[in-house]
Symmetry: C2
Subunit: 384 residues, 2 copies
Amino acid sequence: MSIDSLPVPEARRDDALDRFVAVIPAGGVGTRLWPLSRAAAPKFLHDLTGSGSTLIRATYDRLSPLAKGRFLVVTGQAHRAAVCRQIPELDSADLVLESEPKDSAAAIGLAAAILHRRNPATIMGSFAADQVISPDDVFQAAVLEAIHTAASGDRGKIVTIGIQPTHPSTGFGYIRGGQELDVDGAPSAREVVEFVEKPSLEVAEKYLASGEYLWNAGMFVAPVALMLDHLAANQPALHAGLTEIAAAWDTPQRDEVAARVWPGLPKIAIDYAVAEPAAAAGDVAVVPGAFRWDDVGDFAAIGRLNSAREGDAVTVMGEGARVFTEDASGIVVSDTKRVIALIGIEDVVIVDTPDALLVTTKEHAQRVKGAVDALKASGETDVL
Amino acid sequence: MSIDSLPVPEARRDDALDRFVAVIPAGGVGTRLWPLSRAAAPKFLHDLTGSGSTLIRATYDRLSPLAKGRFLVVTGQAHRAAVCRQIPELDSADLVLESEPKDSAAAIGLAAAILHRRNPATIMGSFAADQVISPDDVFQAAVLEAIHTAASGDRGKIVTIGIQPTHPSTGFGYIRGGQELDVDGAPSAREVVEFVEKPSLEVAEKYLASGEYLWNAGMFVAPVALMLDHLAANQPALHAGLTEIAAAWDTPQRDEVAARVWPGLPKIAIDYAVAEPAAAAGDVAVVPGAFRWDDVGDFAAIGRLNSAREGDAVTVMGEGARVFTEDASGIVVSDTKRVIALIGIEDVVIVDTPDALLVTTKEHAQRVKGAVDALKASGETDVL
């Protein structure tokens, strides 16, 4: 189903979709994917699905039919060149470069404030650069519903896209859906009763059984004005700082103001700064997404997303990988041209990079973050 | 106990020990230790015990108090420089360089023939360059008994040094001992009833229980004349070729004759060419060795020979290794300076070299040879 064939009333579609700008926060290092993903080469710059596209490029391509060139990518200054190589379509006005990471409320809030200066009627949609989603058209249909919902009513809504849970995950926060909303062009939009933190397994199983809960994938679509209203109400200092930077952004004073203000801004997640208080105020809606979604949280996910070749129990990732296996299963990510021989070992995870090697199991893949913390603590920062 | 304090009658000692020359065949690649050990850097050129000495250097040092500078090292032409770096004491007359490998009968037979030309009364002792033995003085006492036994009687004896078995190994051949011999200076020497091939586990258990069997470690001491007599009787073509090369060895014709004759020599193990028929003829004796012995047959042996640091379940080998472990056990051999992180994996074997990586388990360490064969078959010979 292409966007052009979506059943959207023409008038509303022109109005809301034309105000849409896709924001792509490209921040997290993806520590659980070390040593492949690291400060100098974070997760979003890797092709983790064997598709031939890096995650950030795939994110851009997935949003392009809706955003039609209207993008804002928020990333670290160190990643400017790599991001521009991945998305040569971006011009300098489409990039927000952070001098240091300030968590999601500052990153997304600055994007909202800049977009608001440029056009106060903007509807922003924020989609992390390092998630894997398919198929694209199901995703796009959900985003389109979210755009219409975001544009509905007097002030609009902050609209999350919730993921239909497939298992009782304890690794994600959940969104509890409520009454259906009656929005033209968004038949599946509902109100949000509450956001809940990562639950215990027991609680997650109840959530799954109830059918009322969706995974919070951190995707949302909202009028920038409404975003900023909630930010002002809940984080006035952050809001003031971001407003000051945004006012200078498209002027020769950008660098001076950003250098002065940004370092002092509070670090807080957008969930606490905006989404949860906005939900409590009744300003948040949810559109369920029926697409496949994976945040590629660890190397076990790499195994899920890259099935082994026919008749082979080992998933191999990496161009020109030279992997020989005998009675082995698991995942090999090869970022070198070295020969790798696996013999008689099950469910192993091997990540081979020029300066660091990880050997673990699928079961322990989540613990990679702990190893990175240990390396940091012992001063082995050259490989982080 | 130093050699000087060994309880040996002075007269006999002068006679037999002064005729002793230590031969060190440095041949095998040590395929089961790939990718650490390989054609260009075979097992004997590695320090596999963390002692600071390569195996060949340790072999030389262990024999020095007996051989007192009288050595003959038989190795491939490709290893000349590396061997001379390890044993700078060698001069060119102490080196026999093979243009191509011809198995142990040709290598040891040529050493015997060359030594016989130089001095027909020579007693040679052949000790592979890639075994780990301790303590040295117990080994030296056994070799000294073997030297006296080799020198006894009219023609002397071919004397193997048999290893007291510590478990029912199916990886070694066995020597069945017989009647005690009555040799001055060799109280533990016995006749050899037979050599037997690598047994099944059931048979090996019987051997162990009987107390009559020793492991055949391929170590022997013998008058070169007796060695050559048996070689002539059992492998006349090989004997003729070796005699021809030996006649030219210390002359300007060495290279021409060796280049013409060596490539056509039959490939056969010394066990079949000499030891077994000599045993059948009643010419073989055995001296049991009570020293610890390990042929470092696979990476599990590396684990045995290099105990983990206190409080750490992972044995790490390699200078400057940067290994971080969490809930892991096993062996890491690091031939690079890469950071290696092991998380939640048991009894693993990791061998990290600049161009090849092996990941297996202690249990499957013996199967490394199969992987090398597979790599060879698929043409990945650059890493072999």
